[in-house]
């Protein structure tokens, strides 16, 4: 039951109603990061719907999503899977010390041409 409450919280954060999904799989047919993901966009939607959140929170797939919005664009039911993935990501990183990347890791990843956006897009997975 508790998980379902978390699921409803995720719906609130994402503004997405996962019950609108008709399980067509177009999001996963579209996803450019599919092969690197453990859980795929349609699974995010369905697992949030049924409250199986713990597995998602532990999965690297959260940070593999490229936020390219192709799934949002092509979904025939207006479900917005990317918003759901973002909501799970937020749930993961909002608690203290649950950051995906730590500030001290960043410098070694940088190169001098790297635009700020790349760092910010890494930072979005990070909360002070």
């Amino acid at each position: 039951m508790e998980n379902l409450e978390i699921a409803r919280e995720l719906e609130r954060i994402s503004g997405v109603n996962p019950r609108k999904c008709m399980k067509c799989g177009k999001c996963s047919g579209t996803c450019p990061a599919y092969d690197k993901m453990e859980y795929h966009p349609h699974q995010f939607v369905s697992m949030v719907e049924t409250g199986r959140i713990e597995k998602l929170l532990e999965s690297e797939s959260l940070f593999t999503c490229l936020s390219c919005f192709a799934c949002v664009e092509r979904c025939p039911r207006g479900v917005e899977p990317a918003n759901i993935i973002e909501a799970v990501r937020l749930m993961k990183i909002r608690p203290q010390n649950e950051n995906h990347l730590h500030a001290e890791q960043i410098p070694e990843l940088l190169d001098e041409n790297l635009p700020q956006q790349a760092i910010v897009s890494a930072f979005r997975k990070y909360k002070k």
Binding site: R12, S14, F63, T64, L66, D111, P115, Q117, A118, S121
Partner: protein
């Protein structure tokens, strides 16, 4: 035509070429770009959470500043354009976000998405007009075969951005024609290059870049042009073959208008 101009952080540092070229070309085309004073970083990544308010405020400040000047807000960087346009849409359509942002900002007049956010390319298409641009070209890039790389952020989600057909866009191709070159239409021009994970998942980024580069080269493209500094970085640095140069579209615009890169 006078615009409020929002350059964004990257254009002041790593992507100076994008900014400089745009300013010089605008001058030549009779467009005035007034840089907003004291603009702040847009955040780089649009915060999708419906409860994210603070992360949207810097964009709202830029939008309000343009509203006060009664000007449209001109953008150049894809990421900034994406963030500003979507935050603007939230302010216009999401009552909760609007109320909270306005309550925090304590403006004299609450902001409700009145400013129009327009990308430099949209400005070229809708205000200058590609036919007029063609007339202004003094040094047409005849014979050059150029692939347009749109990426994600300019096009999607199309309901909010309303930039072009999200699956078969033509605006950059039309731009390429206007500067006298030949556009190469290839299927992956609107597929993601993997820029968001370029810092930590090089494999994924490289495989996405490879798809795009292969597809463009197959169509005969000699180079790619883009409006996004992150795509620029990713396409240049994560292309294993390293054989397809990438430019900002403003660089070629300047060349076609007979202006050199340093703007003389």
């Amino acid at each position: 035509m006078v615009y409020s101009y929002y350059p964004g952080c990257t254009l002041k540092t790593k992507a100076k070429d994008l900014d400089k070229g745009a300013r010089r070309a605008a001058e030549a085309l009779g467009i005035v770009m007034e840089e907003l004073p004291e603009w702040q970083c847009c955040g780089g990544v649009y915060p999708m959470g419906k409860d994210e308010i603070a992360t949207k405020l810097s964009s709202v400040r830029a939008l309000v500043a343009a509203k006060e000047k009664k000007q449209d807000l001109l953008t150049l960087c894809s990421a900034c354009h994406h963030v500003l346009k979507r935050v603007n849409n939230d302010m216009a359509t999401n009552e909760d976000i609007r109320n909270k942002a306005n309550a925090y900002m304590e403006l004299e007049e609450p902001y409700a998405g009145e400013t129009r956010v327009i990308h430099y390319l949209e400005m070229l298409r809708d205000v200058v007009g590609f036919d007029k641009l063609k007339e202004a070209v003094t040094n047409p890039l005849t014979g050059r075969k150029i692939g347009a790389y749109y990426g994600c952020l300019l096009l999607r989600p199309s309901k909010t951005l309303q930039f072009d057909n999200p699956e078969n866009p033509t605006i950059i191709e039309d731009f390429i024609r206007a500067i006298g070159a030949e556009p190469v239409v290839y299927a992956y021009r609107n597929e993601c290059c993997g820029g968001y994970v370029t810092l930590e998942n090089k494999d994924l980024a490289r495989s996405k870049v490879a798809n795009i580069v292969e597809s463009a080269k197959e169509g005969g493209a000699e180079c790619l042009i883009t409006a996004c500094p992150l795509c620029m970085y990713n396409l240049s640095n994560n292309n294993a073959a390293g054989d397809l140069p990438v430019y900002y579209f403003t660089e070629l615009l300047c060349e076609a208008l007979g202006l050199d890169k340093e703007g003389n």
